[in-house]
């Protein structure tokens, strides 16, 4: 019945598209305020959003089966590009995330956010589930390689997201609880050892995270100011364009990583609840698509991409409210910037493809 609808023939999932539109609109609204009412910046961001949406619709036309067939090649390409970035980075002496292709600058780690889940979904869907130890081991290697390459750049935030994408598929594929708990325990036990292995300056950073007031000029400054912004917002907020913290320029990175603080200040707890509902709506839709996907590949990939999206939101919000360390992860579709937006939209394009490319079955 659904198969015959106009939107399905265009491979568009209407509820998901609706959620994304809603989120983008909120994003532009907040960004306008956070950027100090910089209309030029809003135009640029809106243009990027439009292009990203277009790309989303394009990738939705590719059937998941074809994606599965290409998975190995996409992954290999991603790894090669990551290695290339590291090498050119060595030559250039310094952090290097970009690959200059002449007409466009390209961040291979973004490709990996999609390539890894696609490859793993294909890898696990190929044979029976739950996977045996050997396959779990192979999968772990497939995850660790890009994560380490990206962490070397160094880009902690992105490597975290790629790891989350990989691990979530591992989880959904049915890795036994015993393994998960065992791994969790050994990780917890190894933290004291890690502490001894850390450099003094790294320890300093961990301590700053635990007690931001200790370093009021460093990363502690972000957290202190961001907490003031959020707390002073109250139940209903100070109103759009009326946030003092952001407009008096106390809040750093207010249009990028810390935009959630601006949102909290201006729209209050009510606004936050609404925003979280929109995110939840998109996530629930993603899970619904995954549950109803036609095959194991679609289920694994769909839930992996959805979970990555969740980690995006959770880590960014957790960081802004001072619960998680400050790693550079933007708030999806709201923070200023185009790189992660394109990847996110492509992921949603894949979700739509999973939902709309159905082989006609007898029922």
């Amino acid at each position: 019945m659904e198969d015959r609808s106009f939107s399905h023939r265009l491979h568009i999932d209407v509820p998901l598209l609706f959620g994304l539109f809603l989120l983008c609109s909120i994003g532009l609204l907040v960004l306008y305020s956070a950027s100090g009412q910089d209309m030029a910046l809003i135009y640029r961001q809106a243009t990027r959003m439009g292009l990203a949406l277009l790309l989303m619709l394009m990738i939705a036309q590719i059937s998941p089966a074809r994606l599965a067939r290409m998975s190995v090649w996409i992954y290999l390409l991603g790894i090669i590009l990551l290695a290339l970035v590291l090498i050119t980075g060595e030559i250039g002496k310094g952090a290097q995330r970009w690959l200059n292709l002449g007409f466009v600058r390209f961040q291979p780690s973004e490709l990996m956010k999609l390539a890894l889940p696609i490859l793993l979904a294909w890898f696990f869907a190929d044979r029976h589930l739950p996977p045996g130890l050997v396959r779990i081991f192979y999968a772990t290697v497939l995850i660790v390689i890009p994560v380490l390459l990206i962490a070397r750049q160094p880009d902690l935030g992105t490597s975290l997201l790629v790891a989350a994408a990989g691990l979530s598929i591992l989880f959904v594929a049915g890795v036994s609880w015993r393994l998960i708990i065992g791994f969790g325990l050994s990780a917890a036990l190894s933290t004291p050892v890690l502490w001894f292995l850390m450099h003094d300056y790294q320890k300093q950073r961990v301590l700053t995270l635990l007690d931001p007031e200790k370093d009021p000029l460093g990363s502690g400054y972000h957290i202190i100011q961001s907490k003031i912004a959020i707390g002073s917002g109250g139940l209903y907020g100070k109103g759009w364009l009326n946030g003092t913290q952001s407009h008096l320029e106390f809040l750093p990175e207010r249009s990028t990583d810390f935009i959630f603080a601006v949102f909290c200040e201006e729209f209050g707890l009510m606004g936050v609840l609404l925003l979280i509902c929109v995110y939840m709506f998109i996530i629930v839709r993603g899970l619904y698509i995954s549950l109803n996907a036609q095959n194991t590949f679609g289920r694994l990939l769909g839930s992996g991409l959805t979970f990555t999206f969740f980690v995006y939101v959770f880590v960014n919000m957790g960081m802004v409210i001072g619960q998680l360390p400050v790693v550079g992860i933007p708030l999806p579709l709201i923070s200023h910037g185009g790189t992660s937006m394109v990847t996110l939209m492509l992921a949603f394009g894949i979700m739509m493809a999973i939902h709309t490319h159905r082989r006609l079955l007898s029922d």
Partner: protein
């Protein structure tokens, strides 16, 4: 376990994945709830607290960089100064279009490409609300032009600051080092809070080694700002603590004389106080001017320095590796006595060459006609090669290596500035490791006259020379004398002399014998450096050395004489004075300076006269 044959079971898989997806959904919901709870806590429970903070949040905290400590010589001459200067700084956040602003600014004042390049680099890694320097050392004209046009450039400011300056420039660059802009690697390792507001850090030499003392601690300024972020009022100020002033052991007038002596040459001079290891002068010629490095040298000038055939950036005193040549002989003379192989009266017949038994190869003496019957004193004074060929042969490479190791050859002295290289004290093991070859007996002879694979750094040779003057004590060389508070001038830190090795003699008289033989070098009738000691009001002990430049073949077919005619040798001289109570030990290396007695030794007299008698070359005529 028997091999399992799993068929794909779609029903089971579907249920498994569904369960997991439901679980993940629950987990996400709970984590999301956690965020909501935390936001609720901040926005509702703590609302009043944060509202108060936000209303009072017109206060910004700004770092105030401490003033870097000065560097003085032992005689109180300023070696590293802070000069007032103006720089052009940009706060990226307050500038709409940075590219356009740079364009417009370069229409007003001169902006080098290197300035812009450096600016762009820093722009990327600093917070957008932190000002980034665009140009340093603005001229008065620049400052005037910018002040007049200030209203056209929001977010662009002329900032008064201090600029590091090295008055002695190339005369002292290898000692003072320089400060430069903090780079990304350094940022990783720094205490970022204390370096807020600091733009420069010690990169080399004393500036780097004593960064912790020189830097000081950051201060803060609390200011009230208005709605546009402009400062209205100063509320509170925690003054920064200036860095400590550092005094070196260095004697600037001696340093200047040493620089002058090496003018136009390549080489190194290290003068050390044998009693406590304090460096009195340390020159690597040619030098370079460290001042352009402070705010980033342009790449053309840097390339020129880097590619110069004279390698001015190389600190020859610490990193130059030279064959010791005959300067090694006093150490072997000590070994001869100490191992009981020779007394001071035992004589060796020198006919101008030496051969190993069963070989026709002749190891030649520098004096073709030979030195005749030669005892230890004459062998050192006249630098008889045959005496030391025979001695080295009897000692064997094991003991040759052992005695040199006692004097620290092949090891770093761990002087208090970085970049020191280690020399090479060859041994059987070393050769096997490095070349996979066996040691030939002939090589021992060559090492016996300080050639072959033996290599020393000037700074180590100075310490080894001081060890003879000290009768066995190896003192750690150092430039740092003390650190003083910049206001009270109170000494807050002091170098404690350190003895890092001791050469034990089986009989203390052996030292006297060696020192006597070195005294013959400069004061004896046939000493190789007799002209240097002539007429001196004090007694000095020394040893000349002439080191071959080319890599020396490892086999026995090496013909020393032929090589000597074709290549200009490095001239070396080691010495200390006064003999009875040594206060200065010296190493002089002049690359391609010819023989040690004419190329290097005369410099020692000038330096000794100055240090011991206060005579300047110019005054003495």
């Amino acid at each position: 376990m028997p091999p399992e044959f799993h068929l794909k079971d779609p029903g089971y898989e579907y249920r498994l994945i569904s369960r997991r997806i439901y679980f993940a959904g629950m987990l996400m919901f709970l984590l999301g709830l956690l965020i909501v709870v935390r936001v609720f806590f901040l926005q509702v429970v703590m609302h009043d607290h944060f509202t108060t903070l936000s209303q009072h949040n017109r206060v910004k905290i700004q770092p105030i960089a401490p003033i870097r400590g000065l560097i003085f010589s032992n005689d109180g001459v300023l070696l590293a100064n802070n000069r007032p200067s103006f720089s052009l700084e940009v706060i990226p956040e307050q500038v709409d279009d940075i590219e356009q602003t740079i364009d417009r600014l370069s229409g007003l004042i001169e902006l080098d490409n290197s300035d812009i390049e450096r600016f762009r680099k820093q722009l990327k890694r600093k917070h957008r609300f932190v000002s980034v320097p665009l140009k340093f050392n603005l001229s008065d004209d620049d400052v005037a032009i910018l002040s007049v046009n200030r209203h056209l450039f929001p977010g662009v400011d002329v900032v008064a600051g201090l600029n590091r300056y090295y008055p002695l420039a190339e005369k002292l660059a290898h000692v003072s080092g320089y400060v430069g802009m903090i780079d990304e690697d350094e940022l990783e390792l720094l205490d970022t809070s204390n370096y807020k507001g600091t733009s420069h850090i010690g990169k080399l030499g004393v500036e780097q080694a004593y960064e912790n003392l020189l830097h000081g601690s950051v201060g803060y300024r609390q200011v009230e700002v208005n709605a546009t972020g402009r400062i209205i009022r100063l509320l509170d100020r925690t003054a920064p603590v200036s860095g400590k002033n550092i005094y070196l052991t260095l004697d600037v007038s001696l340093q200047n004389l040493a620089v002058k002596a090496l003018d136009g040459k390549r080489g190194a001079i290290v003068a050390i106080d044998p009693r406590d290891g304090g460096i009195l002068a340390m020159v690597s010629a040619p030098g370079y001017d460290p001042n352009p490095f402070v705010n980033g040298i342009d790449s053309a000038s840097y390339k020129k320095l880097l590619n110069s055939s004279d390698s001015p950036l190389l600190n020859r005193a610490l990193q130059g590796k030279y064959p010791p040549g005959s300067t090694i002989k006093p150490f072997f003379a000590f070994a001869a006595l100490d191992y009981g192989l020779r007394t001071n009266l035992d004589e060796t017949w020198c006919q101008g060459w030496y051969s190993l038994k069963g070989s026709t190869h002749r190891y030649r003496d520098w004096k073709k006609t030979g030195h005749g019957h030669t005892n230890l004193e004459n062998a050192v004074a006249q630098s008889c090669d045959v005496y030391f060929y025979a001695l080295a042969h009897e000692m064997g490479i094991e003991r040759v290596h052992e005695v040199l190791a006692k004097f620290g050859f092949g090891e770093r002295t761990n002087i208090d500035i970085v970049g020191e290289a280690a020399g090479l004290n060859p041994s059987r093991e070393w050769k096997r490791r490095a070349y996979g070859q066996a040691w030939y007996p002939g090589e021992t002879l060559i090492v016996g006259i300080g050639q072959g694979s033996s290599l020393v750094t000037p700074v180590h040779l100075a310490v080894a020379t001081a060890a003879i003057a000290n009768r066995g004590k190896l003192v750690r060389p150092h430039l740092f004398a003390n650190a003083r508070d910049s206001i009270t001038n109170e000494v807050v830190d002091e170098f404690k002399p350190e003895i890092y090795g001791r050469v034990e003699a089986s009989d203390q008289s052996h030292w006297q014998t060696v020192i006597d033989s070195m005294t013959e070098v400069t004061h004896g009738q046939r000493g190789t450096a007799r002209r240097v000691g002539k007429g001196a009001a004090y007694m000095m002990a020394g040893k000349t050395g002439t080191a071959q430049v080319i890599a020396i073949a490892q086999d026995e077919e090496y013909d020393a004489e032929e090589v000597r005619e074709e290549f200009r040798d490095h001239a070396l001289f080691i010495a200390f004075a006064p003999v009875e109570n040594p206060r200065i030990a010296l190493v002089i290396v002049v690359e391609n300076g010819g023989s040690g007695s004419s190329g290097a030794a005369p410099i020692a007299r000038v330096l000794f006269d100055h240090h011991l008698q206060g005579i300047n070359e110019a005054e003495s005529g």
